[in-house]
Symmetry: C2
Subunit: 313 residues, 2 copies
């Protein structure tokens, strides 16, 4: 498999990204190739610093970098020779099998839409996180950051994408889908969640169980929790923050330590016509390594093809 990595994306790039790629390489098979997109000189310097050789990787030299202050759509169109733009070009032309980045999620979304595109009928792809449940198992939380603004019909579709992802990735036959809200009653919440509730109630293609409060993310009554990318990203970061705060006080066990972002590394963009993985901006080398290995898992489990098939039915 050919695994694409944006070396320039993330708060600690290119140090953390190259170091992560070096670590990942040790756990991949000889058939796998990591394709690094970024400034060749910097990549080689970092490979040298990590006692690794450029011969072990494929380097695609790019001259531009899209940073966190750039407007996503504009930057993607304007910076044609950025690591993200070139990476998506490679993904579109099937010169790589997956593309991962810890850079701007907005740019990754724009890149996806303008290169490989989204699956037929999908309004907006979404980022899916897997949150460990208290009693074992995982909850799919969608969207966790790609769509800070999401219309009710988009939220409703996140339910569908999340439900099908739970079928493919978690092998749950009939995933129960809940809408994240400040109360269980249908009329609770803001205008967006009230409208989404009405749409989701009538959506035959997924098993909607109603509004759920945050505690349900950690329980077994629901398999998929839907929210927009603004709320989802805040919830994720709040969970990570508390796990860190508690951890620093020595309050940690196997369960709590699973809330560390290093463990999940990167998250798949559901609805994209290709394997697109987005990592945390603060990704260190361990998180980047996990993101690379995860992109292989996701590619090998054919989630993109399965999702497309399920959506067509």
């Amino acid at each position: 498999m050919r695994i694409g990595l944006d070396v320039m994306g993330g708060d600690f790039a290119p140090q953390a990204t190259v170091a992560g790629a070096v670590l990942a390489l040790k756990e991949l098979s000889p058939d796998d190739k990591i394709v690094l997109f970024g400034d060749e000189k910097q990549i080689k310097e970092q490979l040298y610093a990590n006692n690794s050789s450029a011969d072990d990787f494929e380097i695609v030299h790019t001259t531009e970098v899209i940073d966190m202050h750039d407007k996503p759509v504009k930057a993607f169109a304007a910076k044609k020779d950025s690591s993200i733009s070139v990476g998506f070009e490679y993904l579109k032309e099937k010169k790589i099998d997956s593309f991962s980045s810890a850079g701007s999620t907005g740019v990754m979304l724009a890149g996806t839409i303008f290169s490989v595109g989204v699956m037929e009928g999908i309004l907006r792809p979404c980022l899916a996180a897997l949150i460990p449940k208290e009693q074992g198992g995982l909850t799919v939380l969608v969207d966790v950051g790609v769509n800070p603004d999401a219309k009710p019909e988009v939220l409703c579709q996140f339910g569908l994408l999340g439900s099908n992802y739970a079928k493919c990735a978690l092998k749950i036959n009939t995933p129960k889908v809940g809408l994240l809200n400040i109360g269980e009653e249908a009329e609770k919440g803001n205008a967006q969640s009230q409208a989404a509730h009405t749409l989701m109630k009538d959506e035959k293609a997924c098993c909607f169980v109603g509004n759920v409060e945050p505690i349900e993310i950690f329980k077994s009554n629901v398999d998929v929790v839907v929210c927009d990318g603004f709320v989802g990203n805040l919830i994720m970061k709040n969970i990570e923050a508390l796990a860190r705060v508690f951890g620093k006080r020595g309050l940690v066990d196997d369960y709590v330590s699973r809330f560390n972002y290093e463990i999940y590394g990167g998250l798949p963009l559901l609805g994209a016509n290709g394997v697109v993985i987005i990592g945390h901006g603060i990704s260190n080398h361990k998180a980047i390594k996990t993101m690379i290995l995860q992109s292989k898992n996701i590619y090998n489990s054919h989630i993109t093809e399965k999702l497309r098939e399920l959506l067509n039915n």
Copy 2:
């Protein structure tokens, strides 16, 4: 002082509310009187069950109940003899000094607006939570549930209310105000937070430090964190949920146990022209007791008057 309590509000009313009032009475001074608003027969039954006498309280009999499914503004206007409507009437006529309820926050907001009203120039009052910081001290989180939809100018004003509340309640001279967001950069977030950021940056009356991510709620870089009532309520409930999940695993210490809602009981509605306290819907008798005692503290600390004075300057 005359402390008003809506006996019919909350998931466990009237059992928990009356039991909480009985507990609170033991810690109040002989000059204090708890005024109970609700169904007299039920109140008396509960007082009897708690080995307490109706003589120790003042009971204002009401015949209607506003429940969680009622539309706030409509219900408040239609159910004139509900415990909340009559309670607010008493507050307006200064027959009580504070009014507390664990009932619908939407109805409490409507009740405030249509009875005592809001302070001059205030668009919407907001509910302020005090979140314990890791290194000691508290962070004011506003709004945590009264305004699930808040326009940018309303968010900007929450900063002002929160800042002045931090001055009064936490004795911080120049509170640092942050906007809760999914990234530190000004252009991050949804359309609402981007617009709010622009307004807050230009607001001279409070010290805006920019966007803050959830981890900052627990740190010392900021004193006030602003968000709308939908996000704030989810964040609060997410914190409580994790504290409970971790607590059940035996991961608990003095700091973590402070994230229990029973400890803060009720929260003040900032910007209301009177002492209005709103409790958690799931309030048990301990939380109700705390809410009642807190209403006395807030009344005695003259926060309403001080806030009004600060806003006029």
